[in-house]
């Protein structure tokens, strides 16, 4: 039998050596724990502190940079925020009494080890965060990054990740309404699997993760607790009880969790019913750090005291120690605070859904989190010290020595296509390159219809769902990041990510409201990476201020690197917007109206730093990213929203990677309609077609609205140019003086690439 380390025991052998270093704690961190407790920690306490003070849970390397959010959030921006940074997910007021919550999280490393389960449990985790706000999860999105498309390991990782995201999300009944698939060799040994979830609730139904009300019960419900993800903590067990076979074998436990989407679906419905019957005082999901996190966070947000009888936790594995139970990352579990008189009703709802639920403790006024195991105290700590008072590092920051060289390596020197034939070939080559090719192979594995409220999904600029079936109020969301731009200039590159997500939302007719992010970077111990990180946070925070939309939350993922080579810095930015009637949405495909003029909004300059053209044709990364002008982006968004409101736009498509050529091809193929384009004689056709200047959108305007729309643009100072007409009779995209592309040829080039690589 294993011997349990208790608080009493800690008093008797104060100097027992403890494996804190193997648990990832530094000498001074361990000393600090001893100082907080006034004694050595028990094994269970050590397990709790070590997971909660890890980079992943405590944000110890990034926290000091959060001041940028604070300094850049004005009261005006704050006004629409019902919950912000510090909660499970940010919540915004979208009007008519509706609140919407959204958040992105990373599940990068597990998805490399076991692509299917890693990605699946990534979706499961973010959905529980949304659920914990009291919202019904309504849609998911999945920003993904992989190594080179033709690398053999990408053939292992990508299909598994896609099947995992689909397998979990489809089974949960959440439409997938967007995401990204980007290939770059820097992600080879380190794919990025970020998952976003959006949920909604009535404003008054907002839940917070708070253990308030002395005497209220703590109920753990959902799946049983097993040995999932306790990898690190098993050090403890094997140290002390190495003669116990059961326990010794745990050293080799995989840190991969297996998801059970069915259990999560039932858990969602169960929670919705619990919320509707007002049986929940506080609620928290169990994710990273499992019960350690849930109990310490709930306790520190409430009256500050909690007593947990850990032996009550229903287990799936034999002989688990308290430290293991506290650290388990078993999926599909939630923890609720319930008034004693509501416990019976709570249990009845759980029974109806066949959800296992157990009272494991209660809220106290002691100010301490006390955890007992068969009557003996194994944890007795001030909860805030676990949840919020972890270490804070000021990591060294240094602009990389080669940054100047990188920026000086101007793509202007690269040979450019000039003849019509060269331009034609360039266009076909680009639209069939993995990053620009159709992502249908991926997205057709995701259910976009379930729940019947999906108004726009892939391949639209942003996903859009209806929230209120009566009024048609809905939200749109997009996630974006071009890691190459960020590498060239992290400040500007991150603002470009923000600008693009913002523009994508506006392009569908929605008003951008709020921002979330998932900051994927290399090692924080590398001063160059920390410089990228700081620039990115600053760029995003200041950019949000300029646009007047707040950052509501996010997630940081460090140590994304293979050996000492970091990934392209990838701060994924998610923007959420609101539209008061989804029937006004602007679709992407042209040809919806009988006669349409094509107008390009914004200005095009010669900008190829970090461009897809430089990447695909020359394998080149250098120079400066496109310039960003957020005031212009704001004006552009206002024009698009006004155009949607007054029915002046029949289609719109944002220009980004691949430039105008890419946007034209997609708008034509999606709308299954041809068009005739006349380029500006005064500008190099190559620049017009392939430059990646920001702040541009292609719009289709019904002929009857053309004058009204262009006058509005002129009056408000937004540059625009008539570039052609939609031709419903034609099955080709004709770019005058360059080439005529039959839509069939374009379709083959655009749609053939991913199936050829992954089928």
């Amino acid at each position: 039998m294993t011997e349990i380390d208790t608080v009493d025991k800690a008093a008797t052998d104060p100097d027992r050596p403890q494996p804190y270093a193997e648990l990832g704690l530094k000498d001074d961190e361990y000393a600090r724990i001893r100082e907080i407790l006034g004694r050595r920690p028990t094994e269970a306490e050590l397990a709790m502190y070590s997971v909660m003070w890890s980079e992943h849970c405590s944000y110890k390397s990034s926290k000091v940079h959060w001041r940028h959010w604070k300094e850049n959030t004005t009261p005006e921006m704050q006004a629409k925020l019902l919950a912000g940074i510090g909660e499970n997910a940010g919540v915004v007021d979208i009007g008519d009494g509706w609140a919407v919550t959204f958040k992105v999280e990373s599940h990068n490393h597990p998805s490399y080890v076991e692509p299917y389960q890693g990605a699946a449990t990534g979706v499961g985790g973010i959905v529980r965060d949304i659920l914990a706000m009291g919202a019904r999860p309504l849609a998911v999105m999945d920003p993904l990054r992989f190594g080179a498309a033709d690398h053999p390991d990408t053939k292992r990782v990508l299909p598994g990740v896609v099947a995992g995201i689909g397998g979990y999300g489809n089974c949960l009944g959440l439409p997938n309404i967007g995401g990204e698939v980007v290939f770059d060799p820097s992600y080879q040994g380190n794919p990025l699997v970020n998952a976003m979830c959006i949920g909604a609730m009535r404003v008054e139904d907002l839940q917070l993760a708070k253990a308030s009300g002395v005497g209220n019960k703590v109920i753990l419900f959902g799946a049983r607790t097993g040995l999932d993800g306790i990898g690190g903590v098993s050090v403890l067990a094997s140290e002390s009880f190495s003669d116990d076979e059961d326990v010794a074998s745990r050293k080799k436990l995989p840190s991969v969790q297996v998801g059970d989407p069915f259990t999560e679906k039932v858990l969602i419905e169960c929670c919705m019913e619990l919320f509707a019957q007002r049986l929940v005082v506080g609620i928290q999901d169990l994710g990273g750090a499992g019960l350690s996190c849930a109990t310490s966070e709930l306790a520190s947000a409430g009256e500050g005291g909690m007593h947990i009888e850990l032996d009550k936790v229903p287990l799936r594995a034999k002989g688990m120690t308290p430290a293991e139970v506290l650290s388990s990352e078993s999926q599909e579990r939630m923890c609720a605070i319930v008034r004693p008189e509501d416990v019976d009703a709570f249990m009845r709802v759980c029974q109806k859904w066949d959800v296992l639920a157990t009272v494991i403790g209660e809220v106290t006024d002691t100010g301490r989190l006390v955890i007992t195991w068969h009557g003996e105290t194994v944890v007795d700590v001030p909860p805030r010290t676990v949840a919020h008072e972890g270490p804070e590092y000021h990591r060294p920051i240094a602009r990389p020595a080669d940054q100047d060289e990188l920026q000086a390596d101007d793509p202007a020197k690269l040979p450019r296509p000039s003849t019509p034939e060269e331009l034609r070939e360039t266009l076909l080559r680009l639209i069939s390159s993995p990053n620009l090719a159709s992502k249908e192979w991926v997205t057709s594995q995701y259910d976009r219809y379930v729940r019947g409220n999906t108004v726009l999904a892939q391949p639209s600029d942003s996903g859009m769902i209806r929230i209120d079936e009566e009024t048609g109020r809905g939200v749109a969301a997009s996630t974006d990041c071009n890691g190459r731009y960020v590498k060239l200039d992290p400040y500007v590159g991150t603002q470009l990510a923000l600008a693009e997500a913002y523009r994508n939302v506006a392009t569908t007719g929605a008003t951008p409201l709020a921002v979330t992010n998932c900051l994927n970077f290399g090692s924080p111990e590398d001063p160059g990476v920390m410089w990228q990180f700081e620039q990115a946070v600053k760029g995003l925070a200041e950019g949000c201020r300029e646009l007047g939309i707040p950052v509501t939350g996010g997630n940081v993922s460090f140590y994304n690197q293979t050996g000492s080579t970091a990934i392209l810095p990838t701060p994924v930015v998610g923007v959420l917007g609101v539209i008061d009637d989804v029937r006004r949405r602007i679709p992407t495909g042209i040809g919806a109206e009988p006669g349409e003029t094509l107008i390009l909004l914004g200005e095009t300059s010669d900008e190829f730093g970090g461009s897809e053209w430089a990447h695909v044709v020359h394998g080149h990364l250098g120079g400066r990213p496109p310039q960003v002008d957020l005031a212009r982006e704001k004006l552009l968004a206002e024009i698009l929203v006004a155009g949607s409101r007054d029915g002046m736009l029949s289609a719109a498509h944002d220009l980004s990677e691949g430039g105008l050529a890419q946007a034209l091809v997609e708008a034509a193929l999606i709308g299954q309609t041809g068009a005739r384009i006349i380029l500006d004689e005064d500008q190099d056709p190559f620049v017009q077609l392939f430059s990646e200047s920001a702040g541009r959108v292609l719009v289709a305007v019904p002929r009857t609205e053309e004058l009204r729309f262009t006058e509005m643009c002129t009056a408000r100072g937004l540059p625009w140019r008539r570039i052609g007409v939609v031709d419903p009779e034609s099955n080709a995209l004709e770019i005058q003086d360059v080439a005529t592309f039959p839509l069939d040829e374009l379709r083959q080039a655009w749609e053939g690439t991913l199936p050829a690589l992954f089928d």
Binding site: A163, G166, G167, N170, C171, L172, G173, D260, P261, F262, T263, K265, V266, W353, D354, T443, S444, Q445, Y446, D447, R448, Y449, V450, R451, G452, N453, T454, V455, R466, E469, V582, R583, D759
Partner: protein, 226 residues
């Protein structure tokens, strides 16, 4: 007119089926898997989703639910029953319809807008369609490949019990491009694509699916007057 919509643990498209029922001005009545009470409904929809996670085999566990016994009894008395996607799988496992759905030949989940031909316009769920009509309806599943013994397929074809057939490409390798079939009396229909997701061009590829729900209004009305 009351259309019952069953919810099993793991059912997903029950909200959509209920919305479709309301769209044709029927009353949508929620039915719970653990009850055996059909609550006086005139027709039943067994909706899509992943009942019990589809863990053993799609529909294999759900068919043992108490509500299914009542559905089977009612169907034998002529009540119109529609199984969509997972619902179709459940009806097959429950023996109301022959055959079974296997993993798609491409081995992937497939979500796309699919053209179907309505091959039989005399079932309880298809009278509002013109014979041979082609309709655009979403399909979304991973186990959608209809399979049955050669004899059963011959029988289905000979008796005109193939109700919907995939056109412009077979998304899952289904035998004879079969997308949906019916019982000998045409009262029980099962199909893999989702008519309840095609009731409004705002949220679906078309509103072609409405015809399915309008048809059953006629079917139950004629039952009442008969």
């Amino acid at each position: 007119m009351k259309i019952g919509v069953i919810t099993f643990p793991g059912t997903l498209d029950d909200v959509d089926a209920a919305r479709a029922a309301r769209a044709v001005e029927a009353e949508a009545v929620p039915l719970w898997h653990a009850d055996d009470d059909l609550r006086g409904v005139d027709a039943v929809v067994v909706p899509g989703g992943f009942s019990y996670g589809d863990y053993l085999r799609a529909g294999a566990i759900a068919r043992f639910a108490p509500i299914m016994q009542s559905v089977v009894d009612a169907a034998r008395r002529g009540m119109p029953v529609l199984g969509i996607c997972n619902g179709f799988q459940i009806l097959c496992e429950a023996g109301l319809l022959p055959g079974v759905m296997l993993r798609n030949v491409g081995l992937h989940f497939v979500c796309k807008d699919q053209w179907l031909r309505v091959e039989n316009t005399e079932t309880a769920w298809t009278t509002r369609f013109e014979p041979g009509a082609e309709i655009l309806i979403p399909i979304k599943n991973i186990d959608g490949r209809y399979t049955a013994s050669a004899e059963t397929v011959r029988e289905l074809e000979a008796e005109g019990r193939v109700v919907f057939r995939y056109v412009e490409g077979n998304p899952n390798g289904s035998i004879n491009d079969i997308a949906g079939i019916c019982s000998p009396d045409g009262r029980v229909v099962g199909l893999m694509p989702h008519p309840e997701h095609a009731i409004d061009a705002l949220t679906g590829p078309s509103d072609d699916g409405l015809g399915v729900f309008y048809s059953v209004l006629d079917a139950t009305r004629s039952l009442v007057t008969a």
